[in-house]
């Protein structure tokens, strides 16, 4: 298969770059929905590395782990977007800096 020519280092490097981009999104953007999307990006980067290592070792455990990560991501998105909606009802903004109701 063609993919076997690509060494695992390239996959892991791509995964690292994607992860960093996700982290930058979380740190730099102030939109709560966008922060969630960046977290999804980071989870996907981790999934890519897991799948690459699973292929390298011929071991299915990595695939199961990716499956769990996806499930957790789905749960996280459901709850996270619900939180964003209920915040939006209180105060019509998605900017995380404006959400300071707990501030004394």
């Amino acid at each position: 298969m063609e993919a076997s020519e690509v060494s695992i280092e390239l996959y892991v490097l791509l995964s690292a770059i994607l992860f960093i981009m996700g982290a930058m999104g979380v740190l730099l953007r102030r939109n709560a929905i966008l922060i969630f999307m960046s977290v999804e990006l980071m989870l996907n980067a981790a999934n890519l590395a897991l799948a690459a290592f699973a292929r390298q070792w011929g071991n299915g455990d990595g695939h199961v782990m990716v499956f769990f990560v996806m499930t957790v991501a789905a749960a996280e998105v459901a709850v996270g977007l619900a939180i964003i909606i209920s915040i939006f009802r209180q105060r019509p903004t998605t900017n995380v800096d404006d959400i300071n109701l707990l501030k004394g």
Partner: protein
């Protein structure tokens, strides 16, 4: 390499779009591109099941949820990005990211981690009893019992075993391995990835042990299965195993198999077969056979042809027919499912509970408790209007 470059570029472009675009809908669409690229990379790494899940769950369900919320909240309006509360955050984040990237790159490229050795599956062992004259057998590898009370014509199920050299010993069922002499013993060498059938053959006076190695690896051709035969006939002649399904076109599956050996493994198509066993060189005297045997694809079939002495000193032919599923293809739904329902049952159940909790949590969080109050507010708003309306009329009078 081409696939990797193209889908990698799509991933990176999508990721850049997620971080840089100002419009939230554009961000979401870029994220879809990234997820799609990752799905292609999954396929390139033989993670077919994950690729399907990625498209269905991520690009399908999760992104629809995102877009739905964006539209619901009207967050797609392009607003001037508010100044971050902390001015130093942007340069700090960029520096941190660059440092992280440099560190991981050095670690990945210069790490010289030995990644070349693929992990092999543990060897598997089972016991097949074709030993005439003994009610049942116990089999030990060194001091550890592999199977006990295996009756004639029966087989134990495959057990995972550590690699290494062992002395396989067969005892009559119930014998004490410490003191009683074994019926037969035989050195075996267990290496990774093999499936070994310790087959006891012969008679109680002259027992023997055959180690049959089966190949449970994935079969490349669709609709095919592997078969092999063991000659345990007490007449001790060599046998031919012939496919008798079509009398006009007989095909020899295994030729000249001496007593106490296993034939070569051959791959045949799945079908309903009639198998005949003949002494080598004589196609007229059919010793025994298997009729109307339906063989499924992706299995490994072991036939042990043996005889059992009856009370009246005649011999009754017996075929031990053992069918084992081959290991599922790496990354296939069967493979992931097998792991999920064997080694990872507990995490699987916990994750399903987590999903259930998330579902209830989302309902509780978005449940609008102000529903009745809003109706009250409307009514109150209408009250002054109805009070005010007649007022101008009254002044007009």
């Amino acid at each position: 390499m081409f696939v990797f470059l193209v889908s990698g570029a799509i991933c990176l472009g999508g990721a850049l779009g997620v971080v840089l675009f100002r419009n939230t809908v554009h961000n979401a669409l870029s994220l879809v591109a990234t997820l799609f690229g990752v799905a292609v990379l999954f396929i390139a790494q033989e993670a077919y099941f994950l690729a399907a899940i990625q498209v269905i769950v991520y690009a399908g369900a999760i992104m629809v949820l995102f877009l739905f919320v964006i539209m619901l909240l009207g967050a797609e309006r392009v607003l001037p990005e508010a100044q971050p509360r902390f001015r130093w955050l942007t340069p700090a984040a960029v520096i941190l990211a660059l440092v992280f990237l440099a560190t991981t790159s050095v670690a990945i490229i210069k790490g010289e981690i030995d990644l070349t050795q693929p992990q092999l599956d543990e060897p598997m062992v089972r016991v097949v009893n074709a030993l005439d004259g003994v009610a049942a057998v116990d089999v030990y590898l060194d001091e550890t019992q592999v199977a006990d009370q295996v009756a004639f014509g029966e087989a134990s199920s495959f057990e995972d075993w550590d690699t290494g050299r062992y002395q396989a010993r067969i005892f009559e069922a119930g014998a004490d391995p410490e003191s009683d002499p074994p019926l037969a013993e035989y050195p075996v060498n267990l290496v990774a990835d093999v499936a070994l059938s310790l087959t006891a053959i012969g008679t109680a006076q002259d027992p023997d042990l055959v180690t049959v190695t089966e190949d449970l690896g994935q079969i490349n051709d669709k609709d095919e299965l592997r078969v092999l035969a063991v000659n345990a006939l007490q007449g001790r002649m060599a046998i031919d195993v012939v496919n008798d399904t079509d009398a006009g076109n007989r095909r020899v599956l295994a030729e000249n198999v001496p007593y106490g050996t296993a034939s070569e493994i051959i791959e045949i198509e799945k079908a309903t077969y009639a198998i005949g066993v003949y002494p080598t060189g004589s196609s007229r005297t059919r010793l025994m056979g298997i009729e109307d045997e339906e063989l499924d694809a992706d299995t490994s079939v072991l036939w042990v042809f043996t005889e059992q002495r009856q009370a009246d000193s005649s011999y009754r032919n017996a075929v031990i027919n053992l069918e084992t599923d081959v290991r599922p293809k790496f990354g296939s739904p069967e493979h992931v499912g097998q792991l999920l329902f064997s080694r990872y049952v507990l995490p699987f159940e916990m994750v399903s509970l987590l999903l259930l909790a998330a579902m209830i949590g989302a309902i509780v969080l978005t449940h609008d408790r102000r529903g009745p109050r809003r109706r009250l507010v409307r009514r109150l708003a209408n009250v002054p209007a109805s009070l005010e309306q007649p007022a101008p009329g009254q002044t007009g009078d």
